[in-house]
Amino acid sequence: MIKSFRKNIKGIVIEGITLVSALLIIAIVIIMLTVIIIGGKDQLSWEFLTSFPTDGMTKGGIFPAIYGTALLVIIMSIAAVPFGTITAIYLTEYAKENSVIAKTIRFAVRTLAVIPSIIYGLFGLGFFIKFVGAHIDGAFFGGELKWGQPNLLWASLTMSLLTLPVVIVSVEEALKTVPQELRAASLALGATKWQTIRKVVIPGSISGIMTGTILAVSRGAGEVAPILFTGAAYYLATLPGLGDQFMVLGYHIYVLTTQSANVDQTLPIQFGTTCVLLLLTFILNMSAVILRYRIRKKKTN
């Protein structure tokens, strides 16, 4: 009797420890969210979001950083989403599950997902700027420095490499939820493989492609390391074009917290900017979670 009671106590304690661990993670998330939102909420105003920094970045808004972030993720998505989707289509529709090629590609995708983001930054510098950009300058501008330096385009493309595996994994998951019977039905009607993919498989996985895009956008909006030296700028008085350096939310936070002369003075702006970035990624991730939840539900039905 007593023995079983002890055993029971031990069970409760041990299960309790695992529960506490889980709760601790939830607590960390909630604390981070609340601290940053409370710290930044007074700063959030229409004016903060839509005006330029003033007084040496100690006052004013963060519009150029929002603008830069938006352009960055748009260009990045234009590059990453089609290529990621096509790779996922190859893996689910064309490659044989256990072929060497499919295995190699899957390994490459997973490797891309774990390569540190700073390495992408180095690659962007070494490949896009010093190689592609420099060669463009050499070929079209007589060696004058135009594309062989950090800018929005190279930063976006660097970021698209980083987010490529995010897209591939999400889309692949969605493509797998399209029932095999629908492919069979289409083929049995005399549709070719490509017609089947285009008219049955892709429409059936639109929500998965959207999830992938949202996750990629969220990731791209938050990453700073890859763009540290491929295009992000400290301060710009004008809005950027493709060939210009640009301001971006994450880099803005980094610069304000570590590089500015008077950190305390800019504290409200720091909290405000962090709050904006956190809310942005939070909302994006939330919608991706919901979308994915619905896709998985559909699959089990």
Binding site: V35, E93, A108, I119, L122, S218, G222, V224, I253, Y293
Partner: protein
């Protein structure tokens, strides 16, 4: 064996299918341009991921490579210089300017690097050197030749002083700092993530699962610059008040912050591994009278070890390459000690902090790329181990059963 086609059934009317025109000509493979093009494009694009990996290997290493090529050239040039000296001493010299330069060198031989520099000029008109190394040589020669020579020598020291009259590129302190912070963050993150995964996979009811899993996904979506900001502005002060250490930003704060970033990875993979354990294990254990927690710890957890191992490996990879948190929360001082409460500088943070300010093609630039190559190789190997070793183990277990 064979069933002969039966006697033709006799009912039915006469049909004249053979006289109908052929509506479906199946005898010739049709060329369908859209399918052909689509397939080619899709197959081509699919190789992009592999191509990118190869390109990253190539271009990151390419920018790191000059360091080695220079050191090689130095060796070569020294020996050839000696040979030429001998010639010049014993024979009549025809190449007057070369001789002059050589004499000049001899006059002021205090700095050995100058010898190399002179020789470098000489080789251009006397001996022919491979274009590639030549270019690398001249590029870096312009920007401070002192560095090139000492770069390799100082690489394995603990002094990281890249910007000075006598730059030193000792990466040992950076490596030790990176490992220190990795260890701290793992000690923090791995137990929490694994226990929480165990709770989610074994104990939690549906409702709890539906809270925990999305929360983890949201945490995974937190930008590291936000976590870094939180660590820098809130956590650092808070932890200092508790532990009363001297430097506010140190490897402890940075390690905890990176641990927060690594929790989702470790959790997700562990949870996958735990739920992949066949239900029969669980039921068998309960059937012989083991309690739920005993089953969880002594049956399910061991069965999922390879997966948990992979989770920890990938967690290491995540922390190892983390840049923004390291930049913001570790203090960024390249000290080499094992005290968790001193500032450190990690490999990734060094690249992040200094790359934007270096001269392209400079030795400092090359050394940063060398550090990048190390990071890349390290994470690549970690991923390969997680992938192949762990998968092999799992396969064995499944087949063994």
């Amino acid at each position: 064996m064979t069933k002969e086609p039966s006697k033709a059934p006799t009912s039915g009317k006469l049909t004249a299918a053979s006289s109908e025109p052929v509506r479906f000509d199946i005898t010739r493979k049709k060329f369908r341009i859209a399918d052909y093009v689509a397939e080619k494009i899709i197959k081509g694009v699919a190789f992009l991921s592999i191509t990118i990996i190869v390109l990253i290997f190539f271009f990151v290493f390419r920018e790191a490579f000059p360091i080695f090529s220079i050191s090689k050239e130095i060796k070569k040039s020294t020996t050839e210089n000696v040979v030429q000296d001998v010639q010049e001493t014993y024979g009549e010299v025809t190449d007057q300017p070369a001789k002059e330069e050589n004499q000049e060198t001899y006059g002021a031989v205090t700095d050995s690097s100058q010898v190399q520099e002179q020789y470098g000029v000489q080789t251009n008109d006397t001996a022919s050197i491979e274009d590639a190394s030549d270019k690398a040589y001249t590029v870096s020669a312009g920007s401070g030749f002192d560095d090139n020579q000492s770069a390799i020598k100082t690489l394995l020291t603990k002094d990281w002083v890249p910007v000075s009259d006598k730059p030193r590129y000792g990466i040992l302190a950076l490596i030790v700092g990176t490992f220190k912070i990795t260890l701290i963050s793992l000690l923090f993150a791995a137990p929490i993530a694994i226990l929480a995964a165990l709770y989610t996979a074994v104990f939690a009811n549906r409702k709890m699962k539906e809270i925990i899993k999305p929360t983890i996904e949201l945490l995974a979506g937190f930008p590291s610059v936000v976590i870094g900001f939180f660590a820098l502005m809130v956590m650092a002060t808070f932890l200092q008040e508790i532990f009363h250490y001297e430097t506010r930003l140190n490897s402890f704060v940075g390690g905890i912050a990176m641990g927060i970033a690594a929790i989702p990875i470790i959790f997700t993979i562990t949870e996958d591994a735990l739920t992949a354990v066949p239900k029969s294990f669980y039921e068998a254990s309960l059937a012989i009278g083991a309690s739920k927690w005993q089953t969880a710890f002594f049956v399910i957890l061991p069965a999922a070890t390879p997966g948990i191992f992979a989770a920890i490996l990938l967690g290491i990879g995540r922390v190892f390459g983390e840049t923004m948190i390291a930049l913001m929360a570790t203090g960024n001082a390249a000290q080499m000690d094992l005290n968790p409460f001193t500032s450190v500088r990690t490999l990734a943070a060094t690249i992040g902090a200094e790359m934007a300010e270096v001269v392209f093609g400079d030795t400092h630039y090359n050394v940063l790329f060398l550090i990048g190559s190390l990071l890349f190789i390290f994470t690549f190997i970690i991923n390969a181990i997680a992938e192949f070793y762990v998968k092999g183990k799992l396969m064995k277990r499944i087949q063994g059963k």
